[in-house]
Every structure is written in C-alpha cells, then in structure tokens.
C-alpha cells in the first residue's frame, strides 16, 4: 500500500466507482426499465424504503438474527478453534472435516434446521451461525497453531499462569489471523441469514427481496440489494481496515 501518492490512490478508487456506476447506468439503459432499475431510480426507491415503517421492522428482524448468529459464530468459532489449535491431534483430526464442511452447500441442510428449530428467528440464527462458525474456527485454529514456539517458551520460562499466558502471549500473537477469520465469518453469516430469510420466512430483508422477486417489483429488488450491499461493504471495509492494521503491526514487531 505504499508508493503512489494518496491523491492518486483516492482518485483511482473514485474513478473505479464512477466507472461501475456508469456501467450500471448503461446496463439499465440497454436492459430497459422493467428489467433493471438505473442508479438514480434505485437511490430514490432506497430512500423511500429507508423512510417506511414497515421496512424498519424487516431491518430490525434481520439485524436481530444477524446479531445473534454473529455472536454464536464468533464466540463458538473462537472457542472451538482455540481448543483445536492447542491440541495438535484434535486439530489434525478436525481440520479436514471442517474444510469439507466449509465447501458444502449448506443450503441443502436448511430443511433439517427448519425441522429442528421450526419456522422463525431461531432457525435463521442457527443457519447463519452454521455458515459463520466454520471459517472462524478454521482461521482461529491456524492462528493458534502457527504461533511461534519461542513465544510459548518465553511464557513457560516466565512461569505465566494459563490466563496470563493467554492474555499476554496467545491472544496478541494470534489476533491478526483471528480478525481475518471474523471478517470472512461476518460475510458468510450475513449470507446464511439472508438465505434463511429467503426460504420459508415472512420477515426480514431476505423476505422483502424474495417477495419483490415474486411480484417482479424490480425497483424494490434493486433498492434492497443496494442497501444490503452498502451495509455489507461498510462493515466489511471497517473489519478489513482493522485486519490490515493488526497485520502490519505484527509484521513490524
């Protein structure tokens, strides 16, 4: 991220975004109003949606499901990953299973979740958490496993208690990779919650979109997708920033 002056970097990013908006506009012109809403109309519809009481209820439902799912995925993955990272044999046994689960299209398992949890919020939370917990676990496992042995030796030499060692040695050493895992985990948890809302659900942003798809209400599809993309990209960009800062700090140390 060095070399080019800042104005050039920002200029390039702005030019790229402008190019994407232009592409969108041209596509909308080409495909026609009933297939693809242009940037201006989408923004107008998005503002309308953002002001409507009914949409707020859907957003609240989605945010609640996402919040619980993120909490479960982040903490569960952290705990499981740390445990598997500290015990080499357990890690070796579990890692290929985790990777296989990661590659599985989990949507196929959604009916099982629905049968276990019933229709409603718990099923969405569970489905989102299942999506997020696997990458968080894999990243945490690798973060803990690749801590340099000399750090651990220092901790032993200084006779740190397990808690002290965790707080002052393990956590700082593994944190950058853990944050990377949480970033991937966030993206997949959001995807899981949305898919959960798109099938057999009556509430949430996913339902708004699938309902609009059913009615072929293109402006609403585009506006909801746009708001969703902005939200996801913003959170992801913040996490990316933290992630990069942590990685740079460790690289320097």
């Amino acid at each position: 991220m060095t070399g080019a002056p800042a104005w050039q970097r920002y200029g390039d990013s702005v030019a790229l975004l402008a190019g994407l908006v232009l592409l969108w506009w041209l596509l909308a012109l080409w495909a026609g109003e009933e297939a693809l809403t242009g940037p201006a109309e989408t923004l107008a519809r998005a503002r309308e949606l953002a002001g409507s009481r009914r949409f707020h209820a859907h957003v609240a439902e989605s945010l609640a499901a996402l919040g619980y799912a993120l909490l479960l995925a982040a903490l569960g993955g952290l705990a499981l990953g740390t445990w598997l990272g500290v015990r080499p044999l357990a890690g070796q046994v579990a890692e290929p299973i985790l990777v296989a689960l990661y590659a599985l299209p989990k949507i196929t398992l959604y009916p099982v979740i629905l049968l276990i949890f019933g229709l409603g919020l718990p099923a969405k939370v569970a489905f989102g958490a299942i999506h997020g917990v696997i990458p968080v676990t894999i990243f945490t496992l690798n973060a803990v496993r690749t801590i340099r042995p000399v750090y651990l030796k220092v901790a032993r030499t200084l006779r740190l208690t397990p808690w002290q060692a965790f707080r002052t040695v393990w956590l700082p050493a593994a944190l950058p990779e853990i944050v990377s895992g949480q970033r991937v985990g966030f993206a997949l948890t959001l995807l899981g919650v949305l898919i959960g809302e798109m099938f057999a659900s009556q509430r949430g942003i996913g339902f708004v979109i699938i309902n609009a798809i059913g009615l072929n209400d293109v402006p609403t599809i585009m506006a909801a997708a746009f708001l969703l993309a902005v939200f996801a990209a913003t959170v992801s960009a913040i996490l990316l920033k933290i992630d990069r800062a942590l990685h740079r700090r460790t690289a320097r140390a």
Binding site: A103, V112, V218, A233, A237
Partner: protein, 251 residues
Amino acid sequence: MTRAGWIRVALVAGAVAALELATRAGWIDPHTIIPPSAMAAALAGLVVSGAILPDIAKTLSNVAAAFVLSVAGGFLLGLVIHAAPRLRRALDPLLATYYAVPFFVFYPLLIVVFGMSDLPIIVIGFLFGVVAMIIATLNGLDRVPRVALKVARLARMDAVSTALVIKFPAATPYLFTGIKLAVAYSFIGVIASEFILSGAGLGYAIAYAYNNFDNPRMYALMLFILVSVTAVNMVLHTLEQRMLRRRGLVR
C-alpha cells in the same frame, strides 16, 4: 493412513452410528431426521428408478459450466488486474468485501438478460466462483520467481506464451487454492439458486421434497449432495498433494 486419519474415520463412523441409534431408538422424532440407513436406501431407490437422474445431470452440468467459466475467467482477469497495479489497488477493497454481497438477488435481472434457461444459474455460480479465483491468481502471480520472468524476457516470449509457459506453472500451488474454492462456490451458487429460485435441479428437488413433507426423498438428495461434494473435494485434495509433493513442497 496416519493416526489422525484413523481417528477421523472412527469419529465420522461413530457420529453416523450414533445418529442411526438415536433415530432407531426413537430419541429423535422420525419427522425430524430419519436413520442414515433409511437415507441410503431411499437414495439407492431413487437412483435405480432413475427418478432423480435428470436433476442430477442438470445440477452437475451447471456446476461444471460455472466452475470452468470461473476458473478460466478468474485466471484471465487475475492476469489483467496483476498487470495494472493502479487498477488493482483501486479494486482491492471491492475484492475483499465482494463475498459480503449476496448475488442471487440479481437472478430476476439475469433471467431478463439471458432468458429462462440454465444460463442465469450458471452465471450466479460463476459470479460466486470467479472472485476467489481472481484473488488466488493475484496471490500466485505475486510469488512467481523474478528469475523465471527474466528467462521469459531473454527468450523473447510474447505475453500469451509467458502467461501459459512461465506464469501459470509457477503460480500453480496458489491457483490450486483458487480452484478448490471455485468448485465449492460453484456448488454453493448453483444449488442455492436452484433451492430458492429455480424450478429444476437438485436444490429445487430438495426444497420440493421439504414442502411436501417427503423426508426420505429429501434426506436421500441431501446425502447425494453431501457425498458427491465430499468426493470431488477429496479428489482435488489428492491431486493437490501429489502436485505439491512433486515440487518438494510437502514431505
């Protein structure tokens, strides 16, 4: 096989046996989960009767098309982006946040553009897979030894043969990571689209069976997807290990 490998097999076998026991003994309601042996029997029945073969053919051919497109497209786009550092720097945040945006909301648009065919689903699978391949390609190209590129310049190779003869083999270990992810994402994109939006394919068949309370059929189809995805991944893993061993990168 290693000790960890044996434990893994025992673990999976134990989990299946426990599920079988729990469902047979009635601790788990058969309306929720059916015994694994019943799933296998139902799957065998479906395959023998040929009832799901069209769905299987449709889904697997869509996944294959999405996979080939995303690997080829991702490699080419990766080459282009790698050659333009300013473009790459501007794209970087977009690539990093790409997977946070769920694309299949654009399915209706794709139907208008490509018509009611398999193409929209293939395009969604492609959109899911291509960025993983782009990122892997960029990672791989960053690590092509500089001396190899010098050799290409000395031999006065043009851009295409440099890409094919020098860059592609040198970046292979990283490309393989991208290929594995592209397979996974192609499966996820195709099956998720079928599940939610389409009227054919394995994903749709599962959703249909769920809506009709046809548990044996639903679990049989799930078992099929589980087994086939895992089999594809194991083949890829074996190929990757063989490639790494040939290069002396793994013992």
